[in-house]
């Protein structure tokens, strides 16, 4: 407790002298400050996203491809399931990890493989041996080509990073235009009782630590597949 008071005391002492406003090289005379949050117009400065939902789907697909994620859009859930089974066969999956949910239950049943479900606790070694982790998500973001998962809606913290292939099952209605919308939605959906982990996943795990050359699957999944209908 005493260090807390010491640090806060030093901060208050330091802040008695006010600092020049940013970007003005110490010139405070021309400073104009409004009461709204400086970042509240972020939408107008971030990369543009297009107005229609078709444009945003196309943007998501383009961004996901740039990130080397595999995004597939289907007309119906049945078509999605056919693609998922094809994935199972080409990659020769023998076991998957997943969690209970409206979309995942259907997918796991159709796969017909042994499933490590995380809902009531799980064995970490067993999950590590799984060929894929199949989860739902909170949102797809057109602006970045990424997905949002949380510890509550996507089977915990480890499921989306431990298996070598992360498969997201999503619905088209989950696509949002940009990052400010994604943050606003999370806040209205969860606040004040947030899931203990919220993760913005933008492409499969990667590193450039050796000669700045891109390698996928540094520690997290080597592949990210987003199946959407």
């Amino acid at each position: 407790m005493s260090e807390r008071n010491n640090i806060l005391g030093r901060i208050r002492e330091a802040l008695k002298v006010s600092a020049p406003l940013p970007g003005l090289h110490g010139d405070t005379a021309s400073a104009h400050r409004s009461t709204e949050s400086p970042a509240s117009h972020a939408r107008e400065w971030l990369p543009s996203v297009g107005a229609s939902s078709e444009e945003q789907v196309a943007l998501f697909a383009k961004n996901a491809a740039d990130l080397k994620a595999d995004f597939q859009l289907f007309a119906s859930r049945d078509e999605l399931i056919i693609a998922l089974i094809k994935l199972r066969d080409t990659e020769k999956w023998s076991r998957v990890a997943s969690h209970g949910g409206g979309l995942t239950n259907f997918a796991n049943k159709a796969l017909g493989l042994p499933v490590t479900l995380t809902d009531h606790g799980y064995n970490v070694q067993e999950m590590e041996q799984c060929d894929a982790g199949i989860t739902e998500c909170d949102a797809l973001i057109a602006q970045t080509g990424g997905v949002v998962v949380t510890s509550r809606s996507a089977g915990g913290r480890a499921l989306s990073v431990l298996p070598p292939h992360h498969v997201v099952i999503a619905q088209r209605g989950q696509l949002v235009s940009d990052l400010p919308t994604a943050f606003a939605n999370l806040q209205s959906k969860y606040a004040p009782d947030f899931p203990s982990m919220i993760s913005f996943i933008t492409g499969p795990s990667r590193t450039g630590d050796i000669e700045r050359i891109l390698v996928l699957g540094a520690h997290g999944p080597k592949k990210l597949t987003i199946l959407c209908f």
Binding site: I7, G23, R33, S40, G156, I210, V215
Partner: protein, 464 residues
Amino acid sequence: MSSNVSDFKTRATEKAGDLRHRSVIRTALRSYEIVRDKRKAAFQSWESARQAAAETKWEAVNHLDKHLEALTAKLEARGTKVHWASTGAQAREIIAQILRDKKARSIIKSKAMTSEEIHLNDALEKEGFTVVESDLGEFIVQLRHEPPYHIVFPSMHLTRGEIKDLFLKELGDAPSDSPEELTMVARRVMRQKYITADVGFTGANFAIAETGMISITENEGNARITAALPKTMITLMGIEKVLPRFSDLALFLPMLATAGAGQPMTCYNTMYSGPRQPGEVDGPEEWHVVLLDNRRTELLADAEQRDALHCIRCGACLNVCPIFRNVGGHTYGTTYSGPVGAVITPHLRGLQEWKHLSNASSLCGACTEACPVKIDLHHHLLQNRRNASASQPSFFEKLAYQVFGIVANEPAFWSLAKKIGWLTQPLQRAIKGSALDPAKAWTKTRDLPPQPRESFKDWWSNRK
């Protein structure tokens, strides 16, 4: 203490002449600039975003007490234990005590520059704990027993061949020098370490006062796994990392990714608001957040340079700095190198001992231009020079300027000096750069232009 200066000079001279080093760094940073400029151009207005980011950080840092109290209250309400450390020694002791209480043996770490700042690994290893860095670049430099070369790209000074040899020697495993295969070696080594580690350790990129969260940015997924599997999690963060609102991240996350590595978004941006909560299936049972001052409040007290605490550690100023590119990261001998390191290190570790870093600058302003939160970096380098000479003036420099002031103010002296200059310049050329030359540090690598026979003043009065 002057050994800091002579060490810097020795290493800088050596690195600047090292052709291999120059080519490795040039290659790495050339591609950075290309992709970063492409990502910046994708913004509708990068400049407006910078100004808003600077104003948001200004608001955060200038009400730091209020935001830290809000952050702490929110974190504690969800079962997180918050610790406060005024010094590096206190932070090390807090962390070691948690490990002793938990009877922990092994710690898996994701990248944290604050832990480099307080030399945490050395302290924990001395107490017998096993510490493994999980970020690939950090793992590589840990195997080499050296500090990170760069705050974002720790191993950018090494070639794939060197990393292959290192893996062969230390791990007995390196199938080839392909970056892909070497990365997979590290992946295999690390997998079991995550599962068996007693404690997971992380840094922090941002903290959110409004919602009580710590946000961690990474590409590899190692921090995600570190925060998922071990039963105890420890996060060390500098007190300046706090942002007011959750929605501020919508601006800061893409800006950090763009400025830092030319990415639209870093692969994983994860907000943690507590240990495992009721109804959740995994995550640590205990989460300790250690808030570190370590003389940040001294920088805060310098209102003129307070904006240096806005730094989001993206590394953009290092990447564009002509000095960093020539002398390299290790030459600085500091945790934070490059322009921002030269600005903050004198505050964090002593002005007189580290003032020389402020002179390792051409004042070109490339750093200020690159900074996503508009820190006035090159002006701060000038201010550090001013403050250093005001608090401990150099006798010879003072004398030289006094003499110059007298001569320059008196036309008779000035004209005499011109004539003497005419006579002494050939003499100076004879001893140029040698031990006899009082200005040898400057003249060794520089030529003075010959003094013209006729001065401008003479020419002016003789014209017609």
